[in-house]
Subunit: 222 residues, 4 copies
Amino acid sequence: MKSINGGNFHKEVFERISDDKREKIFESAMHEFAKEGYVAANINTIASKAGISIGAMYTYFPSKENLFLAIAERGVAIYQEILADLVGRAGFFETVERLFHLTIEYAKEHTDLSRLYLELSTEQLGNLSVRLSEKMEIDFREFYTELLAAAKEKGEIRSDVDIGFAAKMLDDLVISLQFSYSVSYYNERMQQYVGEDHSEAQMVQNLVDLVHRYLAPETMPA
Amino acid sequence: MKSINGGNFHKEVFERISDDKREKIFESAMHEFAKEGYVAANINTIASKAGISIGAMYTYFPSKENLFLAIAERGVAIYQEILADLVGRAGFFETVERLFHLTIEYAKEHTDLSRLYLELSTEQLGNLSVRLSEKMEIDFREFYTELLAAAKEKGEIRSDVDIGFAAKMLDDLVISLQFSYSVSYYNERMQQYVGEDHSEAQMVQNLVDLVHRYLAPETMPA
Amino acid sequence: MKSINGGNFHKEVFERISDDKREKIFESAMHEFAKEGYVAANINTIASKAGISIGAMYTYFPSKENLFLAIAERGVAIYQEILADLVGRAGFFETVERLFHLTIEYAKEHTDLSRLYLELSTEQLGNLSVRLSEKMEIDFREFYTELLAAAKEKGEIRSDVDIGFAAKMLDDLVISLQFSYSVSYYNERMQQYVGEDHSEAQMVQNLVDLVHRYLAPETMPA
Amino acid sequence: MKSINGGNFHKEVFERISDDKREKIFESAMHEFAKEGYVAANINTIASKAGISIGAMYTYFPSKENLFLAIAERGVAIYQEILADLVGRAGFFETVERLFHLTIEYAKEHTDLSRLYLELSTEQLGNLSVRLSEKMEIDFREFYTELLAAAKEKGEIRSDVDIGFAAKMLDDLVISLQFSYSVSYYNERMQQYVGEDHSEAQMVQNLVDLVHRYLAPETMPA
DNA sequence: TATGAATGAGCCTTCATTCAT
DNA sequence: GATGAATGAAGGCTCATTCAT
């Protein structure tokens, strides 16, 4: 239940309702926000689809904004669980490969959340996302940075690599991959680039290849 | 004036007004849409900031949707002009380098348009972007694909490269770069990855390096 | 409360509010529609005159069109109740006489509803009236037709009468009478034809006389 | 050109333009007003369909209201020509028969004008119609009244007839007939009363029969 | 005179939020 | 705590009318 707390965007009562109800609310809200965008999303619709009254909605969350933030926060929490799964488990390139695989899985399984993240990066939601990112983005950055630092240490990657840039690049690849498998626009775009029959496995392979060529030590320890 | 036509999202009258007025309207609309997003953008505000009446607005554009599309289309047109400048001018990596430079320039000079593009990729605006892309002539995809094909032909890049994937990767890099220099959220993110004192030149250099390591021919022909 | 249902042009909530409030809304809407016509009628005005917010108005009715239809339907329902009172009560000519009397009464008491009917027959509102008539159960036509058929059977009227035409004529007389006592234009017209001091009783007498002369059996059975 | 003057609802310039242009304007306005009703009718549409600018429209007519009145007035003028054709031409019942025939003809040929008349009798246009009716209704009333008076004088109809009421009845019949052949709503209604295969000739015959039974002298001058 | 772009008040409808029950 | 009816500000769009050219 840790994921429920955090930014504390909800009211206390929300922690006391049944898990089922809470889940329904998250589900409903996620879907509406992902589909309609923050502004066009309708709180009344969210409530009724979640099977609760708007009155109840407002006893759980003080405002539309907070509901949105709670949802977004939860999305990141889910993704962070994936990251947690990756830490210190295997070699750098294997970890990267798993990262890409899990990203696709996440994108497909949590489409709404993934779309939400795009929505979140949008300018108008900047104010909102600041409140979020302050608390969460850091984790990702740390993950990538530490992953690279460790790999560098271990000699798995080039010693002259710019870790800051490389971390950003990894994140970029992950984000792009995520959207490619969850957001209609980017999905369409991907298909037009690589063709409809391009498998996920190939996609991951290509990405790993890219990372490898970029980061592998110059001289293969012959 | 070519950029004004295209998808023909405006009414005829709009072509007959002074360049100055037209520019003001574009400016005002761009800004509002980029700042507020499509749904929250207020046509009345756009009109009044452009110094015209809403009535006038509606003699120029049949609807909010069309105004938005006209704006978006214009953004693409501007970027396409930049790309046009790059075609067949120099070697592959030099072209790529210039591409990154120009992208940053575009992102900084046409911040609003750049942000609009993010907005456009959003799920809710899918219908709109379809209307847009249906009407766009040359595509970015073609540009990247041809650039790579030519380079491959000339032996500037590896012969075994997957052009489809490579093109997507180039596009990804460009998009990410663009947002990093125009969208607050991504800009903040970039700074936290590479530090505030990371110059544009370094960014470009890093990117070119990435592309080079990924695409350069196996140098050891020995 | 039967009159409230029917075409179901309102939302459920509307059935749950107090009779008083409901009546006020009907009253206000009727008046506005009758006075201004469908297009010019202002929903905001209707709401505020009914003492409710526009928001409330829209929780009761999904649209202006439906509000109008609900009102119109109610008008018909009221008139139908009057007709119901007439069925099989007395001889043909007595019934007709009562019909005329009741029509005048209705026109004077429910002026707005009566005016609405004129509005409804108007070309632009054709679509609406279709939606209305589709849902109406018993029809005036049936009433007139059966009344005449029964009278013919009983020998109260000529046996060679064209029932279809006679029914239409009766309806025409009733409609004209109704408008003459509710719509300013037709009222003025009536007065100029028969004079201001022409009483309702005389009017009815004249009408009955007309019907009698037209439909009475050839009295000379000799 | 008498019909152009009258209520003088137009500006002077209107009298100086070509008959063709004038006719087009009338046509266009009539159609729009008849189809959409006064309020919903769009002056800009009328102008453009008439092939003139709105600017021109406003140099011909000072306002929408006046345009409407001019149109309505013209409609009556046309109908009055028909009446003129009937005066003192034949016996009462023959005249009546011709009146019905001409009414149907008028309704079918000048559908728009006929519909306009319905629109005009509507409550909200009461203010407008007053300006009209003062000048014109009289003619109709006089026509019917004199027709009946003459017939009474000549012994063609009952001597004890109430001329005021009879005149109104004749007018009612004519109006109802007119609408039955021009207004969708009333046309549909007619067909449901008398059947689709009821010919115009039968309709007229039925009407003449009605009038005859009502007004013919009691004792046929054997 | 003719033109048609410009004006802006006005209208229907939505929806976040409140609050009496 | 839960309910859901009520609120009313706000926004996209129309159209009669004006007026500079």
